[in-house]
């Protein structure tokens, strides 16, 4: 029995698989990454390839090295051995290359890291004006567009302290988007939020995924992972334990650690 009719494959969000396959470029390549914090071996021989348009969700127990790995991608953390190549550019000590990559890689942090002395709009306009040297009018237009994209355009002249946690995180996402990055990194974006606000941020991230953004997300939100991820990775003790498509990952975990982890969290 062969069902050789070629059906167009559908991704988890309902988008056509074309989005994935036409962009067969390597966005991030990590080869044999090793990092020590003093004597502590925090990343052990990590190798990973992320294609353009992929959405990777990295999960695992605390202290497993997930955030550290993420922060290596834009060289906020450095490493002692191994290579990280982002968008074809290898990250080393070369400051120019690092800044070049950081322009193309946006990052959203667990604690938002918004600049408290600037308004929401100024937060978003800062990087385009000072890094991409955009004229202020153009930067403002882009900022307002992205604030609308995250559905808080009316908060533009407020200060971050006046917003709720969910709104602040959405501003952080908008701020990263204003640089028009090719890759977005999310470091536990909803872990510091009240439960009522987690939904609004996850919806924003799903919308981003629908737009075809390459995303690497460290998160414990398994609902989001099921909905939007193209690959799930479990990390523990600084190593990649298991990689699989979300359905297979959740329904049929192979490694002991994965089984243990999944049994401990609600999904």
């Amino acid at each position: 029995m062969s069902n050789d009719v070629q059906q167009p494959s559908i991704g988890p969000l309902g988008e056509a698989a074309d989005i994935r396959t036409t962009r067969n470029e390597v966005a991030i390549e990590i080869v044999g990454l090793n990092k020590w914090f003093g004597a502590f071996h925090v990343l052990r021989d990590v190798s990973l390839q992320v294609m353009r348009g992929e959405r990777i969700v990295v999960c695992g127990p605390s202290g497993g090295g997930k955030s550290t790995l993420l922060r290596c991608i834009n060289r906020i953390e450095s490493w002692q051995r191994g290579r990280v190549i982002v968008d074809g550019v290898e990250l080393t000590d070369d400051l120019k290359k690092i800044d070049e990559i950081r322009r193309e890689v946006g990052m959203v942090f667990q604690h938002f890291n918004l600049f408290p002395h600037l308004t929401v709009l100024e937060n978003c306009m800062l990087a385009p004006v000072w890094v991409r040297r955009m004229p202020k009018k153009e930067a403002e237009a882009i900022a307002r567009h992205n604030l609308e994209r995250v559905r808080i355009p009316e908060q533009a002249s407020k200060y971050p302290a006046q917003l709720s946690g969910g709104q602040q995180q959405r501003v952080a996402i908008a701020r990263a988007l204003c640089m028009q990055p090719k890759i977005m990194l999310f470091d536990e974006p909803t872990s510091a939020l009240d439960p009522e606000m987690v939904r609004e941020v996850l919806d924003t991230m799903v919308a981003l995924a629908l737009d075809g953004m390459t995303m690497v997300v460290v998160s414990h939100e398994m609902g989001f992972a099921r909905q939007a991820a193209t690959r799930m990775i479990l990390m523990d003790a600084g190593q990649i334990i298991e990689v699989n498509e979300p359905e297979a990952f959740f329904s049929n975990p192979q490694h002991e650690r994965t089984k243990l982890f999944l049994s401990q969290i609600l999904h």
Binding site: N74, I76, L95, D99, R102, R103, V105, G106, M107, F109, H111, N113, L114, F115, P116, H117, L126, A127, W130, V131, Y159, A161, R175, A176, M179
Partner: protein, 378 residues
């Protein structure tokens, strides 16, 4: 039929917000509640009032009630002439006023320091008021253009202005010149040193540490003395630096070391996340510091900075050791004038200087508090 358990509760009408209980807002109410609400507090209040009166009354009597306001020579300030115990001898101040303000700056050229004061006030006032726009232009004019113009006007020698040697300058003019130059010159240098001390580059870091520890380790008097008397011995023969300029440089370097540590405390208080957020956006080191970190750090340490500025303003009096006559130096020189030798002269002179120092220091301190409140209101 209800499905709620006997121990359950379901609200049917929301409670609208109401006014808080009425608080007595009158002055008497405040006094009653805060100062006299218990026997102990009442006693302390009474003792406090008595103590204040005991201090304030003689001061008021000396400065205002028993003071002599008009006169031309010392006898006008003596008890025999006036008929009662004399307080402050203000005619002494009126007579010495020009010297106290300008030192020995030639009378015909006094319009130049006056012009400088005028320009300074004209540029400073809009800078201090938050609502006035064009702050960047204002700052550039005040911190960049004004010092140059002031320098040219005060020193002269160009544009047809007769030169006035700095050793003729004195009084409040010298105090303000040294304070202003010290403050404006040492803050940028202090910030650079603070950044240098936190740098990852070993050479920059060591150089900053050595600079800071050295200049904090020596007293200001030694610095002034060394700069004025020893430095010329080290310089090649015919290279002479003006005496006041040497003092200014010494004060700037000295003050910068202290400010560096104050600023460094502010930098340490900024959470790592701010640095990471800026780095993740691709901002280079200087943009990150200038746009994100320093604005926040400097706001945090306004109390420490203003503390240093006020101390610097009063430390200017040490220049007497190198024969430069600031306000206090000029005052003490005036004391030796036999025409005005009365019992009240010394007290009057120091009271006058004290009032000036207090007014300026208090103004700086209050403005800093105002700035802090405004920045916190966000």
């Amino acid at each position: 039929m209800t499905t709620t358990a006997p121990s359950g509760f379901v609200r049917d009408e929301m409670i609208a917000p109401a006014e808080p209980p009425h608080v007595r807002a009158s002055m008497l109410g405040w006094i009653g509640e805060r100062l006299f609400n218990s026997f102990g507090n009442a006693t302390l209040t009474v003792l406090g009032i008595v103590g204040l009166a005991a201090l304030a009354w003689p001061t008021l009597r000396f400065l205002l009630l028993d003071a002599v306001w008009r006169g031309t020579e010392r006898t006008d300030c003596l008890a025999e002439t006036v008929g009662h115990d004399v307080g402050a001898c203000w005619p002494f101040i009126w007579a010495k006023f020009d010297q106290l303000m300008y030192g020995f700056y030639p009378a015909s050229e006094r319009w130049r320091p006056n012009l400088v004061y005028g320009f300074g006030a004209l540029l400073l006032a809009p800078l201090l008021v938050p609502r006035v726009p064009h702050k960047t232009l204002n700052a550039v004019l005040f911190f960049g253009v004004f010092p140059l113009v002031a320098g040219v006007l005060l020193v002269g020698g160009v544009f047809g202005l007769p030169e006035v040697e700095t050793r003729l300058w004195g009084g409040l003019l010298v105090t303000l010149v040294i304070s202003f130059t010290g403050i404006v010159g040492s803050l940028p240098l202090g910030i650079l040193l603070a950044l240098g001390r936190r740098s990852d580059l070993p050479v920059v870091r060591s150089a900053s540490v050595v600079f800071i520890e050295f200049w904090r380790g020596v007293p200001l008097i030694t610095v002034l003395f060394f700069a004025t008397y020893m430095l010329p011995l080290f310089l090649p023969g015919n290279w002479k630096i003006d005496g006041l300029l040497r003092v200014l440089i010494g004060v700037i370097l000295f003050s910068a070391a202290y400010l560096a540590e104050v600023v460094r405390a502010g930098l340490q208080a900024i959470p790592r996340g701010q640095f990471e957020g800026a780095m993740a956006l691709g901002l280079g080191y200087w943009r990150m510091m200038g746009l994100i970190i320093l604005p926040q750090a400097l706001r945090l340490v306004i109390p420490g900075l203003v503390n240093s500025f006020i101390a610097l303003f009063k430390d200017t009096t040490l220049v007497l050791i190198v024969a430069i006559f600031d306000l206090l130096g000029q005052l003490r020189a005036s004391f030796s004038d036999p025409n005005w030798a009365t019992p009240a002269t010394l007290f009057t002179g120091f009271a006058f200087a004290g009032i000036i120092y207090f007014v300026v220091s208090f103004a700086m301190s209050r403005y800093a508090m105002f700035t802090e409140q405004r920045l916190r209101a966000r």
